[in-house]
């Protein structure tokens, strides 16, 4: 006679194994990068400009460049993304135009990042004559993370219970007052989480900044938004493939800084979400 518990246990084992396999690549990436990169991390590495053809010195210009780009992207993408999310989830009627807009957002999310790079080159660098600059790069990254911000914000807004809106309107608040005072504050944690995840993505992408901002080597920090800048992901690409004889620990050190930056942003998002879930009472 067949033992049903035995087949069940075997099935559970394989399901568990498949799930466990997910941890392995994540764990290995983190372990390898920390192991090989940690020896490179010191104050000089974080605070000095690259020296000896990027084989020594630090990576400060790349760190600063990435921070500038991420900040610029958020200044551009958060207001537009949030406002369109509010429009889509609170005001838009379900008609042809709305469906086209939603379809456009989904498609925008699916565009390969290198295509954003070319688009940014054509529109911002050439047509609008911003040149290869922090401005062009930020705008390109901003467009790339727009769908992330819009989708996350819409979901956050829609998760606010309908009854809150109903009560607020029944108390004589206008639609905008309801959105502003009731819906938005309750959706804020979700919006922030989505925004930070978008930022993490912007910080790590190479292709969109390739033609729009990234400098191969700059010995000084950018002075205005019309300057070119170095950026961590592109710098990592350069020292890994374009410059011969770069010490392995410099490459892994750069990767470690980039990884830490992105993981840190994700961690902040996770903490916000966790705190909110704990306080969520409806």
């Amino acid at each position: 006679m067949k033992n049903p518990y035995r087949t069940q246990n075997i099935a559970f084992f394989f399901l568990f194994l498949a799930t466990l396999l997910i941890i392995i690549p994540v764990g290995l990436i983190v372990v390898v990068i920390i192991q090989k990169g940690l020896p490179a991390i010191n104050w000089q590495f974080l605070s000095d400009i690259p020296r000896q053809g990027m084989r020594a010195g630090g990576i400060l210009p790349a760190i600063i460049g990435t921070l500038y780009l991420v900040t610029g992207a958020i200044i551009f993408a958060l207001p537009i993304g949030l406002l369109s999310a509010i429009y889509l989830s609170e005001y838009a009627k379900d008609n042809m135009l709305t469906r086209i807009i939603k379809l456009a957002i989904v498609n925008l999310a699916g565009v390969p990042s290198v295509v954003y790079g070319l688009f940014g080159l054509a529109l911002f660098v050439v047509f609008l004559k911003f040149g290869a600059s922090i401005l062009s790069g930020s705008l390109t990254l901003g467009i790339m993370i727009l769908p992330v911000i819009i989708t996350a914000s819409s979901e956050a807004l829609e998760s606010v219970p309908y009854s809150f809106r109903e009560v607020s309107l029944s108390l004589g608040a206008s639609k905008w007052q309801t959105t502003r005072h009731i819906v938005l504050p309750n959706a804020l944690p979700g919006i922030l989480t989505g925004t930070i995840l978008g930022l993490g993505r912007a910080a790590g992408e190479t292709a969109p900044i390739l033609f729009t901002v990234a400098a191969f080597y700059l010995p000084q920090l950018p002075k205005s938004i019309f300057d070119q800048a170095m950026a961590l992901p592109y710098h990592l690409y350069v020292i890994s493939t374009q410059v011969p004889n770069v010490d392995e620990k410099v490459r892994y050190g750069t990767a470690l800084v980039l990884l830490t930056l992105v993981l840190f942003m994700n961690l902040v998002a996770i903490i916000i979400r966790y705190k909110f879930r704990k306080n969520k009472k409806w």
């Binding site: 009627k93 219970p161 009854s163 809150f164 109903e166 009560v167 607020s168 309107l169 029944s170 108390l171 004589g172 608040a173 206008s174 007052q177 005072h181 009731i182 309750n186 009472k281 409806w282």
Partner: protein
């Protein structure tokens, strides 16, 4: 004195005829109950009076609803003004995820620019006294409203509503999520409130209608079958269908 009068009121949800030729008159300072089986249109009728049906796509109304001689179905009706005057208590107690204090002053804060703290404190005190919660809550006004019991939440919702100083209170099955004792206390509160307000309550609990209301309307499939003094409706209904419903032959 009639506070609300409906004349040949009809309402459609798309192609569905939800209210059919409703003619009725709701008296000031009385409690009017609207009873009837689920889906008969009683909540829909209630939501005509503060135009909450406007939130649903594809709703069409005709006829007249006069509140103090003004037809509120008119397209020029200022909904903000109307809803401040005609307030609503919902089926599920639904305080905002804010403090008790902030819940009550919510409407005042968004309507009144630069209201003084003293004024707000006063509103909180009068409103809570109005729902007999002041003694219990006066020392924990800054605690989250969502920590209160269901009954307290529903009372708080009524307090939040009377802080807006309405004339009419629409109650959509306000006790359906409360236990019998809490229900009795909220009904007691309603009797208290009718001195100041016109109250219309929708309920599918016939005993509640009999206990608490002065007038009763019975609805069935979108029609107002019978409307009159509660005593008469419950003791000597004029229509066969009312009698069948009240005696529990269907429901």
């Amino acid at each position: 004195m009639a506070k609300i009068i409906t004349k040949n009121l009809n309402l459609w949800y798309g192609g569905f005829h939800a209210l059919k030729d409703i003619n009725s008159s709701f008296e000031a300072n009385r409690i009017t109950a609207i009873i009837g089986p689920s889906g008969c249109g009683k909540s829909t009728l209630l939501r005509v009076f503060n135009r909450m049906n406007d939130l649903i796509d594809g709703v069409r109304t005709d006829g007249e609803v006069l509140i103090e001689d003004t037809n509120i179905l008119n397209s020029q009706t200022d909904l903000v003004v109307l809803r401040k005057k005609v307030g609503m208590v919902f089926q599920r107690p639904n305080p905002f995820p804010l403090s008790i204090y902030e819940n009550i002053v919510f409407a005042e804060k968004i309507h009144g620019e630069g209201v003084t703290r003293d004024k707000l404190d006063e509103i909180v005190e009068t409103s809570l006294k109005g729902v007999l919660l002041w003694e219990e809550l006066k020392d924990k006004l800054n605690e989250p409203a969502l920590k209160l019991s269901l009954e307290e939440k529903q009372r708080l919702c009524i307090a939040r509503l009377i802080a807006v100083k309405p004339d009419v209170l629409l109650m959509d099955e306000p006790c359906s999520s409360l236990d019998p004792q809490a229900t009795a206390r909220v009904e007691e509160l309603m009797r208290e409130l009718k001195n100041k307000y016109t109250i219309i309550i929708v309920t599918h609990n016939m005993q509640q209608a009999a206990r608490v209301s002065d007038d009763t309307g019975f609805m069935l499939l979108g029609e107002l079958i019978e409307f009159g003094k509660t005593e008469e409706i419950f003791t000597a209904p004029g229509d066969r269908r009312t009698e069948d419903y009240i005696t529990g032959r269907y429901g």
